[in-house]
Amino acid sequence: MNRIDAAFGAGNGPLLVACTVAGDPSPDESRAVIRALIDAGADMLELIVPATNTVADGPVICRAHERAIAAGCGLNTVFSLIQEIRTYSEIPIVLMTYANPVVVMGEERFCAELAHAGGDGLLVVDMPPEEVSVPDTEIDRIFIIAPSTPVSRIEKIAASGGGFLYLVSAPGVTGRRAHLPGDLGRRIDIAKEVSRLPVAVGFGIGSPDTAYEAVAAGADAVIVGSAISWAIEDQRGDPAKAVAAVVKSIKAGIGPVRTPRSSGQ
């Protein structure tokens, strides 16, 4: 069983996937940020490869991409960061990237390098299953389901993917929202009806309330990205401390002892 399956199968309740742009705000500080995310209780890491053209990301994560690139973080640095994490943690690691670095290196070699570094999953934001040319590797290919994705396509995506289904909470790009849409539970139910894969909800999870709304709607995991990037941007003095606070706060939102709150519409 790989690390992603093991994490979902451990019976620890909904997972928190902490997402950060690798190398943000600098490779050194990013090391400390990642360590802090793990120590604060993240169940899985999603590391984003810094990129120049980021069409699926909102302004907060875009600025994180720009900081990481300005600090000189490239793909080799990202793989090094993963290798370094593996010296002290077995946390599942999903690499999120835009398609270009993957096709420039070659999909097969990219997946092999990622596996060699210690990665477990690969989410290529702008590479739908139809454009994947190397589907079978030891790396789980993770795909996104959008609010506009029809059921027939969810089946196809589920059949092509591994690890978990990444369900986007609402139309648009990454970013925090006050509440998640009211139809989220129905969409999670549909995904679970057509797939054996766990469902992780992302885009819009940035507070204990939204995290709670997602797990109350049936999510097996919540993915927190913009809130972490914002913490890094807002607390440049000690980004590690700031991101730890975000993880602890959101972890509390999905904790089993949390008092139920009304689901936002």
Partner: protein, 387 residues
């Protein structure tokens, strides 16, 4: 060839959230092409609103010393001053027939933004244009025109503040608003089906050129030249001529040198990669990071190119060459003084390439150049370079 592919190039590398709108667009475009009434309506708009057909003008003076005839396909005479209106009227009508209420567009030099604002105004659609903040400074007059035409111009200050960043922002906006908005992409770039749609709407240039050349000169030109940024005027010019024995030449932005960041020559210097949804020839580093670009012409300042151009380059059907900023400015001045036509700086690249070709062609040869737009918008830039 699979749908959306030009050889190995093209495809649909888009976030999942855009796939459903793209699939809807494929279906609505297929229906639109079969809709005779819609085609008639487009024809009327192109002729009576935009000013087609545009003349094929044989230069009286340019090229005289080489003995080569240079003809200009006068897209600069269209309403708005550029070929862009062919595409924007087509896509805006497609959007209207598909029930969309709003157009999203990106613009570099401002010509596409202006053409989208015009198409939106005439068809009663809301328009929001995303434009790099640097381009807004370079093309302040076009910003004012768009606003006068009722469009909202939204500055994009991420990245280099140029066209590439504006495309990103337009795609982001479309991801959130696709239900009632059509993304009216300005060139033959982007995920399938955009490269095909834009090529089809622009191919009126090459069809007319072909007919006019035969009727006026009794034959097709020996060579046809067009400038290539994203490549829409070039693919519109070339595509109807692909199966004819005509030399086809694309002129790219050579900028101020061959170092990364100093030019915009995606076909001459790029490598295979993905930009804005298509696998094509891209200016990038070894790890796939997109390079900054430079061109004196905002419309050519783009690190990618339409995927069909990459295919035509590999197939050896179209030759692509670079033209430097200074060569383009020299051609800008020359055409103004010899023919009384002030070309867009983009088009000046094509004129410069044609003059280079003319030097090596036999006397009596004929070159047709697509003059993609007029140069009023570029006067300040050229004045700055010293007239």
């Amino acid at each position: 060839m699979t749908p959306g592919r030009f050889g190995i190039y093209g495809g649909c590398y888009a976030p999942e959230i855009l796939l459903s709108p793209l699939e809807d667009l494929c279906l609505s475009y297929a229906a639109f092409r079969e809709d005779e009434q819609a085609m008639d309506e487009l024809s009327l708009l192109l002729s009576r609103y935009a000013g087609r057909e545009t003349p094929l003008y044989r230069c009286r003076n340019l090229g005289k010393e080489t003995g080569v005839s240079i003809c200009l396909k006068r897209e600069d005479l269209l309403h708005g001053g550029a070929h862009k209106i062919n595409n924007t009227l087509g896509q805006a009508l497609l959007a209207e027939k598909s029930g969309k209420k709003r157009l999203i567009a990106e613009t570099g030099a401002g010509q596409h933004g202006v053409a989208t604002a015009m198409a939106g105004a005439v068809l009663g659609l809301q328009v929001e244009v995303f434009m790099g903040s640097l381009d807004m400074q370079r093309q302040a007059q076009n910003v004012a025109r768009m606003e006068l035409l009722g469009a909202t111009v939204t500055p994009v200050s991420t990245g280099s503040g140029t066209l590439s960043d504006a495309v990103d922002e337009a795609l982001r906006n479309w991801a959130a608003t696709a239900q009632d908005s059509h993304y009216l992409i300005g060139s033959c770039v982007g995920p399938h089906p955009f490269p095909e749609i834009v090529r089809d709407f622009q191919s009126v240039i090459g069809r007319e050129l072909s007919i006019q050349s035969v009727s006026q000169h009794g034959r097709l030109p020996d060579a046809v030249v067009a400038c290539v940024g994203g490549g829409s005027n070039a693919i519109g010019t070339f595509s109807p001529l692909i199966n004819d024995s005509v030399r086809l030449v694309g002129a790219e932005a050579g900028g101020v040198g061959s170092d990364p960041g100093s030019h915009g020559a995606s076909l001459c210097s790029g490598t295979p990669g993905i930009l804005h949804g298509a696998f094509t020839s891209v200016l990038q580093d070894d790890e796939g990071q997109i390079s900054f670009t430079h061109s004196i012409s905002a419309g050519l300042d783009y690190p990618g190119v339409g995927p069909e151009h990459a295919f035509l380059r590999d197939a050896g059907r179209v030759e692509y060459m670079t033209v430097s900023d200074s060569e383009a400015i020299a051609a800008f001045r020359l055409l103004s003084r010899t023919e009384g036509i002030i070309p867009a700086l983009e088009s000046a690249h094509a004129v410069a390439a044609a003059l280079r070709l003319a030097d090596d062609m036999e006397s009596g040869s004929m070159i047709a150049v697509t003059l993609s737009g007029r140069g009023d918008k570029d006067l300040a830039t050229v004045l700055e370079a010293g007239l």
